[in-house]
Symmetry: C2
């Protein structure tokens, strides 16, 4: 019977592709408050078409959470966490097709948000749709939790999760993202890094000045450069006192998972057009840094004249956007205090810090039903052994939405190694998308079976 | 008879203001190759109207030099060096009236280029026009040398000056700029700093990446920050080895001029909305740094996401524009080599350096006729003692165009302390402009007299 679902999905592939490409036409860039209402309306229409229901729009201090439940035959609950917002599309000039005009070429769908995260969001709806269209009862309750602020740091999700803890509770949560790695194996990911995203800004004179004045007037951009230089040294060590103090040490189990986790170094370097990784790392050291170490990254910096040619100006202001990816044990609020104290101690009291995102890291243990079910399904649908990623280098509100509420969460999905998330020419493979729908459908049943097995053991 | 010239100028003030405001409507931004031909055409028309001649357009590898001669009654030659290009107008949003729609309000003319340098350029044409309209013969030959690339570093002027050394020779050159200081006294300036303007750029992966990748992929912007940090320390000392080695020491005469040079600290701070100067300097130390010390300034820096809100990206490239203001003795080509060597030694071999401007500093001794004539005229036209600036903190091709050819050069002009050169709301006072025209007319005669005096002494 479940095999029939895959056939149904194949027969309806054009519909499911259309559901996705139509959604990707909406420029739901939360950072710029563009297209957000349109995205919510689109989901209304999609739920109406797929399930004959209109989802709840749960208000937050920002964009609403789109929420829906579907009843199953057991008391177990499987939830899907996704987001309907996308990253800004710039640098626009590097896109080969317009970011909000989905283009299918070379077997791939190109569009901003198609990998992160609309592909997975729609695939999960499509999977449940297929099950129900086949007249099969859902073996577990299903909850859809789609937020609109993931790309701007999920600032309002912690309050939402706290307020609606009962409503969103589940026995396992399928996290938003998921990728195939360079050799085509499906990644099953067990955690996310946390994040502190800050904007540092400095102001000087009340106007830009002729740069001859630089001899006697303070330069905000020099101050910013000097300050940034005190945050991380050239050995990539973050030099804010206390930063590493509460980092949880890597366990034996972590190291074991790390040794199985595969990272295709050669392919990654080739794809990015570079000769080596940071600090010439390779092998286990490289994987450890990627998976388990925090970062301090400059997402953007700007000051003064950035146009063509020369302008001799002493800029009156300078700004940098930084993201710190945090690991289990690190508290973004504490890191913020450490940063403030450090800047003060270094003589940069007048650098303003604006926090735009603050999230803790989260980890799921590999013995949880959701993890085991994902691995079974991944093995079913791929000739390659799934690649268990003990912790992804990316970030999401997994701590607030799951770990803090005791909900185990893991992820797999329709993205791939060259999906260009957050970058120009974001894409997914059409076949990965269709396969991804099938895998979600299979996961629903496998997840239920994991509890049944357990039940029979417990009895 | 000379007194009548001032009357004539007063009577024709509306004409002379119109000459200037029409010129300022042309957005002759050399850096962006906008409106440059229009500016040259406008000068054709202006010379035709003022002198019934069409100036030469002397070709260079870049924009042409507009050149004209008018014959006088002696064998002495007075030249005027000005430029018809202007700085880019951004940040456009800070202008109170559109930069290329000259607006007269509160007794000031606001427009991009009105102070730097179209006000002086037109004032000098107007002065010679007024003398000739009165039927008075010019006591010296006059040469107008108007270049179109001053704001982009006069890259082609050295070759022009070399090729046309005989043609442009004069016994004194009135340099392009000139200002009243905070207490209204007219500045007479005897030199300019040199400049090395460079763009530093770093590239990383072939595309912007999700910032989670920052854990293992090199960041060009971090590299740029670290490299910049090695160029200047927080005490404002430029830390490129050898940078100060050939700086000429300050003479007794320099120190004496410095002690007479007036800088209204309180007014400057008030105007700029800041509490103190760089390093809390004041008095002679401040003036010395302003006038006699080289700088290393960041004119602009950009990398990654600089829009509203957050974007978690590892940028694939980073660029900074730097200007070094140099002092007598420093050779910009040597400084460039020192910079390259220093970056290499610090491990930044892969930072690219693009030079966009390279000029030596120049100085004129205060005993030259052109200087003495300017001081006499400045004293005649102002109740305040003129402010002799031994060296201005700004830059221009004075070395190449004058010092290398043995032409003494000094400057005074129609700008003021709040003219906002290179900044939004650039302006000059209408009365300073009219007064400036009268002073140029008077200078022509006083310059001639200085040589006559000398002649009578010599005989």
């Amino acid at each position: 019977m479940e095999g029939k679902i895959d056939e149904f999905i194949e027969e309806n592939r054009e519909t499911y592709i259309k559901w996705l490409t139509e959604f990707c036409k909406i420029p739901s860039v939360a950072a710029q408050n563009r297209g957000m209402e349109d995205a919510v309306s689109y989901l209304d229409g999609l739920f109406a078409e797929a399930f004959s229901i209109i989802p709840e729009k749960v208000p937050t201090a920002g964009f609403p959470v789109v929420y829906a439940e579907l009843e199953g035959t057991s008391d177990k609950i499987l939830s899907f966490y996704n987001h309907y917002d996308v990253q800004p599309e710039d640098p626009i000039e590097l896109w080969e097709s317009p970011p909000f005009e989905p283009d299918i070429r070379d077997g791939k769908i190109f569009a901003r948000g198609v990998a992160d995260n609309k592909g997975n969001l729609v695939a999960r709806i499509a999977a449940i749709h297929a099950i129900r269209q086949m007249g099969i009862e859902l073996p577990v309750d299903i909850k859809f939790i789609f937020e609109g602020e993931e790309e701007i740091g999920s600032l309002n999700l912690p309050a939402f999760a706290k307020k609606y803890a009962d409503k969103i509770y589940s026995d396992g949560c399928v996290w938003e993202f998921g990728y195939r790695d360079a050799d085509g194996a499906l990644q099953v990911s067990l955690g996310v890094k946390g994040m502190l995203y800050v904007e540092l800004s400095v102001e000087g004179a009340n106007t830009d000045l002729h740069s001859a004045q630089a001899a006697i007037i303070e330069s905000p951009v020099w101050k910013l450069v000097w300050a940034l230089n005190t945050l991380k040294d050239q050995e990539e060590k973050i030099t804010i006192p206390g930063f590493y103090d509460e980092v949880e040490s890597i366990t034996q189990l972590d190291e074991e998972m790390l040794s199985h986790y595969r990272l295709d170094e050669e392919e990654t370097l080739r794809k990015l057009g570079i000769d080596s990784f940071l600090l010439n790392l390779e092998g286990t050291e490289l994987k450890r840094k990627h998976i388990f170490e925090p970062t301090c990254n400059i997402c953007g910096i700007v000051s003064g004249y950035i146009g063509e040619g020369t302008k001799t100006v002493l800029p009156s202001a300078a700004t940098a956007k930084l993201d710190f990816r945090l690991v289990p044990g690190q508290d973004p609020e504490k890191v913020l205090l450490q940063l403030r104290k450090h800047l003060n101690n270094q003589g940069f009291e007048d650098i303003r810090i604006k926090v735009t995102s603050s999230e803790r890291a989260a980890r799921t243990k590999p013995d949880q039903e959701i993890v085991k079910a994902m691995i079974v399904v991944a093995e079913q649908y791929s000739s390659k052994k799934p690649n268990i990623v003990p912790n992804t280098p990316g970030t999401g509100p997994m701590y607030e939405l799951c770990q803090a509420l005791g909900i185990p969460s893991a992820s797999f999905g329709v993205g791939n190694f060259e999906s260009n998330n957050h970058a120009p020419n974001e894409n997914i493979c059409v076949e990965d998308y269709i396969e991804g729908i099938k895998m979600v459908a299979a996961l629903v049943f496998e997840f239920s079976r994991q509890f049944e097995k357990q039940g029979s053991v417990n009895r």
